[in-house]
């Protein structure tokens, strides 16, 4: 293992993480709801008069965040790096999307629902989910980058 010190960004990672924790705490304490993005998206697929308004509002917040960031933050929106030859071409992106959609609904949660909210309430079930999806994430990148050699 070689640490990539050039890209290591501990302060922005911690600050960003703290904002995510704050957002999840606010939604739980004020609304009694879990800020799990896959659960919220899945919920929106079956309309419900109690849940659809807040779920749509939360997703709208995520969608408008980049525009608001570009207005408020000096330096503008950081550009994401995605190169199709970087192990994931468009086919891998589509397959990845399908698997994330099915998998997170089967598991009732993703990085936010299990990884943030579940761990914050010390749920062993969520810890199991996090360990499994991290392990398979590591394994998949290993296979794609170092065995298939992309």
């Amino acid at each position: 293992m070689i640490i990539d010190w050039n890209h290591f960004s501990p302060w922005s990672a911690l600050t960003g993480g703290a904002l995510i924790g704050l957002a999840a705490s606010l939604l739980l304490l004020a609304n009694g709801r879990i800020a799990g993005v896959s659960g919220i998206l899945g919920g929106l697929l079956r309309l419900d008069e109690n849940d659809t308004p807040w779920q749509a509002a939360f997703v709208a917040g995520l969608l408008f965040a980049p525009a608001l960031w570009a207005i408020l933050m000096p330096g503008g929106l950081p550009l994401p790096s995605f190169t199709p030859e970087d192990g994931a071409g468009w086919g891998a992106l589509i397959l990845g999307g399908l698997l994330v959609g099915i998998g997170t609904r089967l598991a009732n949660g993703c990085t936010s629902g299990h990884g943030v909210c579940g761990l914050a309430r010390l749920s062993v079930r969520s810890l199991a989910a996090v360990l499994v999806f991290m392990a398979f994430g590591f394994l998949t990148v290993f296979v794609v980058r170092h065995i298939l050699g992309n």
Binding site: I20, L29, A57, F58, L99, I102, T104, A107, R125
Partner: protein, 146 residues
């Protein structure tokens, strides 16, 4: 109305967190998942920061029966580590590793008009719809889930 506004604010703060942390950058996510290459451990600190901040408010929420705005608190009774959880998480991990996207950052990418984010979200919603229409009937029927 108040609950809708709180959800909007929470989504905005959440989105800022994803952008600030680097989670919305699939290249950085893959750098984190690439243990055998040039490993960028930053994203472990995102989870640490998020859980560190949320730990006390979540413990506090457990003591309450209703939220500040009078809603019921979530039901935490589902504790079982079953096949559905493990298989679902494994599939999610493979998809995450292939794409560098998980659901939140992908929605932020869609909002930014970022092409890979748009493609990923369409595929992810298709996966979720597939679950709703086909799988849910089979797996949820037996367990009375949700």
């Amino acid at each position: 109305m108040a609950k809708t506004l709180v959800a909007l604010l929470s989504g905005l703060i959440f989105g800022f967190g994803l952008i600030a942390s680097g989670m919305s950058n699939p290249g950085k996510v893959k750098g984190f998942l690439d243990l055998a290459g040039q490993w960028d451990p930053s994203l472990a600190l995102v989870m640490a920061g998020a859980c560190g901040v949320a730990l006390v408010p979540f413990a506090w929420a457990r003591q309450r029966t209703t939220s500040w705005l009078g809603a019921a608190m979530p039901d935490n009774s589902l504790q079982s580590i079953d096949r559905r959880l493990l298989i679902g998480s494994a599939l999610f991990g493979v998809g995450w590793g292939l794409s560098g996207f998980c659901p939140g950052p992908a929605v932020v990418g869609l909002g930014a008009g970022y092409q890979p984010g748009i493609v990923f979200v369409i595929a992810m919603l298709l996966g979720m719809v597939t679950f709703e229409w086909r799988l849910r009937r089979g797996v949820a029927g037996a367990r009375g889930d949700e």
